[in-house]
Amino acid sequence: MQLVEIYFSLLKRDLILAYRKRSELANPVIFFVIITALFPLATGTDKEMLRTLAPGIVWVSALLATLLSLESIFRSDFDDGALEQLILSPWPVSILIIAKITAHWLVTGLPLIIMLGTPVLSLIGSIGVALTVGLRRGGLLMSLLLLPLYIPVLIFGTSAVGDVANGMNITGQLYIMGALLVLALTLSPIASVAALRISLN
């Protein structure tokens, strides 16, 4: 029971912190909209072609928006030392990490598109951030590490969106996305904690 309380108190703290910086809240969504709007400008306005490209464009934009917002999971806590206190606390660190990831997803992933894929992006992303948070300029490196790991989500996500648009059944893709989510939810906090401990050293 206590673990649940801990989880929700940390989640509440992170959400309050995000709410206090309201202007930053909208940034990923605006970024997402701009990227999506750039494609018709760059590729021409042929309606048929745009219709076939749309699922891919939506997913790639969502992926980039998540990637750019990922650093905020740990960065500010790392800078002011709160992260070390979290790691030193007597509670299982993976629960705390999941709370932080949930907060990040609620703030950035959920407004983007409500789908099974975005929590997976946040979960896997937390490993990349944890690995590079100690570096001065880890942003580009983090994208290098994370993008290969994102490819499976991208493949199933786009095929699901495409099939929905064509009026086909997507149960299969949803099952696989669900499986990926469960896998990421159970394994990535462990990897993140290990990576954070190394980064904080």
């Binding site: 490993i127 690995l131 590079t132 100690g134 570096l135 880890g138 490196l141 290098l144 590490l145 993008l147 290969p148 790991l149 490819i151 499976p152 493949i155 896998l183 394994l187 990535s188 990897a191 290990a194 990576a195 190394i198 980064s199 050293n201």
Partner: protein, 244 residues
């Protein structure tokens, strides 16, 4: 066995042992590869469908196997690094990554050369095995990038170990991709439980090439490890004595 493993934990011992092992591994690899190449390119019968073009498998398939095998070596070394924090496993993981990336690249290039006459295309975006091999190449490159980005060698080794272990998820996906999704790439012909669907005269040179590549990998790995050890321990007395 345990005595030998603990013996290798000292950088000096590892250096001297690998110095002795490299010529053995390297020469055996060369002999086996030459024999298998002769067997594969000259004595093996031509394929009834693909003619002589199939002979590229003697480079392509072993290289693809090595790309997976080296990743597992790297990840196992990473696992050992995280748990026992041994010096030699750190160096082995760091030294294996560029080799693995090269073999993955070789597999992709030879596969593409093979794909042109057989499938009529250099590259097929919808093929699951091509894509997963490409992801593997990116994983290797990410590993190497992280390795160079972190200044402190010990921290770098441990961070890379976590990354390598996360990437292991990809290995079964690559291996089974041709069975899970029906794609252009052909299914496995050798590594399945019932009788391999390849003629014995073709199979023996192929296995020979795989063994030769493995031995070559280990000799190259040990050579890289020796360089790493020298650059890491350049201020110790024994390295100074060794180099003068």
């Amino acid at each position: 066995m345990w005595k030998f493993i603990t013996y290798l934990q000292s950088a000096q011992n590892f250096y001297q042992f690998s110095g002795k092992a490299i010529p053995w591994l390297g020469w055996t690899a060369l002999i086996i590869i030459l024999f298998s190449l002769y067997g594969g390119l000259v004595t093996a019968p031509a394929d009834y469908q693909q003619g002589d073009a199939f002979r590229i498998i003697y480079v392509h398939v072993p290289a693809a196997w090595m790309s997976l095998f080296i990743y597992m070596v790297m990840a196992s070394a990473g696992f050992i690094t995280l748990i026992w924090r041994t010096y030699s496993s750190e160096v082995v993981a760091a030294a294996a990554a560029p080799l693995g990336a090269s073999f993955t690249f070789l597999a992709l290039v030879t596969g593409s050369l093979w794909g042109k006459p057989m499938w009529g295309t250099w590259w097929e975006w919808s093929d699951s095995r091509l894509m997963s091999e490409l992801i593997l190449l990116f994983l290797y490159l990410g590993f190497m990038a992280l390795q160079t980005a972190i200044e402190d060698r010990k921290t770098a080794a441990r961070a890379c170990a976590v990354l390598a272990l996360v990437g292991v998820v990809n290995i079964p996906i690559i291996h089974y991709s041709v069975e899970w999704w029906n794609t252009l790439h052909q299914g496995p012909t050798v590594t399945k439980f019932d009788k391999p669907s390849i003629h014995i005269d073709m199979l023996i040179p192929l296995l020979g090439m795989a063994i030769g590549f493995t031995l070559y990998f280990f000799s190259a790995l040990l050579a890289r490890v020796r360089c790493e050890i020298i650059s890491n321990k350049q201020h110790t007395d024994w390295v100074k004595r060794e180099l003068t």
